[in-house]
Amino acid sequence: MSNILMQVENLSVTFGIPRRGGWPWTPPDQLQAVSNASVILKEGETLGLVGESGSGKSTLARAIVGTVPVSGGRVLWKGKDMVGLSAAETRAHGRHVQMVFQDPLAALNPRMTVGQVVAEPLVTHFPDLSKSEVRDKVGAMMERVGLLPALVNRYPHEFSGGQCQRIGIARALITEPELVVCDEPVSALDVSVQAQVVNLLQDLQRDMGLSLLFIAHDLSVVRHISNRIAVMYLGRIVETAEAGELIANPRHPYTKALISSVPIPSPKAERARHRPVLEGELPSPLAPPSGCVFRTRCPIARPDCAEVRPELLEVANGHMVACPHHDDAANADQRPAESVN
């Protein structure tokens, strides 16, 4: 639990959006999906990444996996920078970092059998394996994720959503990676199946010593599976802390609002609690506000928030917050009454 597996330093991802009605040589608008994000992931740890839609969670994950070009910063994998690698080296690295996707059915090629889908990473990275070895490994992995190995010749459309997600997990784990990036792996599933998949992931993580980067917008799921949680807002990481600490003792006003928006499954408690409700919409990432990007919706915003971008600073042991005013009196009494279970 101590060695640092991966260190993301000041990572930025910028997309060029072609201007509508512009000439082909008109410079495209720059959309900064992730801006100077820094995250550390230790071996065997689960890092939860939360934030509302459009906050850049998925883009950060894709930059780490290498399917989205990075425009600035570094991704250190066991101390080695992954950003400047050649295409072939990045592909070879794919063995160590695998991904589980949100839409379980869309993530499986409809023209391939489940056996072929699960075998693909194995065949890609270990081309010397014989057919029978591949078949045995695929069968064993299918069993590991709770599917009958006899189903290898079936096609994805013959499975339910939960089963498809298990197939996706089997594909991600067959090369025995060290990091699995889960991009909202349970949000397309119904609640009972969510629990099965989350528990499966936890079991597999324990057995195989995996690190997980777990993205979700459902805080209770993240809380259940994560050791640490990072909160993102408009491409910036605004707060990171141990999972329990973050939920019980959020510092950043955005984190407080996020946690208070989780419903409590008891009408009485729900009615009694104080809820700081955020006004307004997520600003456009094409034209983010100056200084602190959250100031347009922040309940404790001050004029000086527009001037400098707040740094992510350590306020307690392992608890980092990007808000210089988090210990203000106004912020302090907005503490949510009850935390999530």
Binding site: R62, F101, A106, A107
Partner: protein, 305 residues
């Protein structure tokens, strides 16, 4: 409890189940479509006609029956006695043998054209769509340029400059047939490229050409096959038009277009069979292809009906 365990054991040790692929599903849907199956049967019969025709024909396609020459309108009628089942052409050659020969050429032109379109067009479009950006721009502009050149004009020039030959005909048709296919394949690839299963393959570290072959092309094939079945008749029509102008295949070889042209020229002499026989095969085959293409579209893409 014991029973469930027995069932579980049984399930766990069962042999691999055969899955139903999307292709198998499409096949059953296709065979349920009566018009499409009818079209397929017609096409098979026409194909059979082209293949075994030469063996059953009593006359050769370039042999002149001297006994009918000069009085084709009376002696050259379709008849079982003379062995000219479909009659003769103005030169006294057996029309049955010539129709068989024309069918071979026309089908070959159609199928070769569609084949080139499928192979070249699909890969060209898939590569352009998958890589996107500048590669896509350059590749598709080349297609635009080629498309903007009048096709018939180029084909006629080719045939005039390099002489009329089958090879030139195939080259001319091959040069142009894949352009539309490339556009269709590219458009489909653009939507496929953003699917999560492609991203999964990229993240896994599969190489770009393997992704195109393994993930993009199989998912394109549905559209491509439908378009190809509709391309065959249009190739046949192009060839017929060229032959009708007198630029297609060379005598004594013939094709449907050449036969129809010849037959229409003889209409005033009361020898209608020279027009109707090749026309019948031409029309029936085109209908067959259209029905099969329609059935394939319904079968491969049940959502779009």
């Amino acid at each position: 409890m014991l029973a469930t365990r027995a069932i579980a054991d049984q399930l766990a040790h069962k042999d691999a189940v055969k899955g139903r692929s999307l292709w198998a599903d499409a096949r059953t849907r296709f065979f349920r479509n009566k018009a499409a199956v009818g079209g397929l049967i017609v096409l098979l019969l026409v194909g059979l006609f082209a293949v075994i025709g030469p063996f059953v024909a009593p006359w050769d396609y370039e042999e002149i029956d001297w006994s009918v020459l000069g009085r084709v309108a009376e002696a050259g009628r379709p008849s079982l006695e003379t062995g000219h089942w479909f009659g003769t052409d103005p030169l006294g050659r057996d029309l049955f043998a010539r129709t068989v020969q024309g069918t071979q050429i026309s089908l070959m032109v159609g199928i070769v054209g569609a084949f080139i379109a499928v192979i070249v067009g699909t890969f060209y479009g898939a590569v352009a769509g998958y890589f996107g950006g500048r590669v896509d721009n350059v590749m598709m502009r080349i297609v635009d340029v080629l498309m903007s050149i009048p096709y018939m004009f180029v084909l006629i020039l080719l045939l005039v400059v390099f002489g009329r030959s089958m090879l030139m005909l195939f080259i001319g048709i091959g040069l142009v047939s894949w352009l539309d296919m490339a556009r269709i394949a590219r458009g489909q690839t653009l939507t496929l490229r953003n699917k999560e299963f492609v991203e999964a393959a990229v993240a896994t570290g599969v190489g770009p050409f393997t992704i195109i072959l393994r993930h993009i092309v199989p998912n394109l094939l549905g559209v491509v096959i439908v378009y190809a079945t509709l391309l065959v008749p249009s190739m046949i029509i192009y060839e017929s038009f060229i032959s009708f102008l007198g630029l297609g295949v060379q005598e004594p070889l013939t094709s449907w277009g050449a036969l129809i042209s010849e037959g229409s020229g003889e209409m005033v002499n009361g020898t209608l069979w020279m027009l109707l026989v090749p026309l019948f095969f031409f029309v029936v085959t085109l209908f067959g292809f259209f029905f099969v293409g329609d059935g394939l579209r319904d079968a491969l893409d049940p959502k779009d009906r």
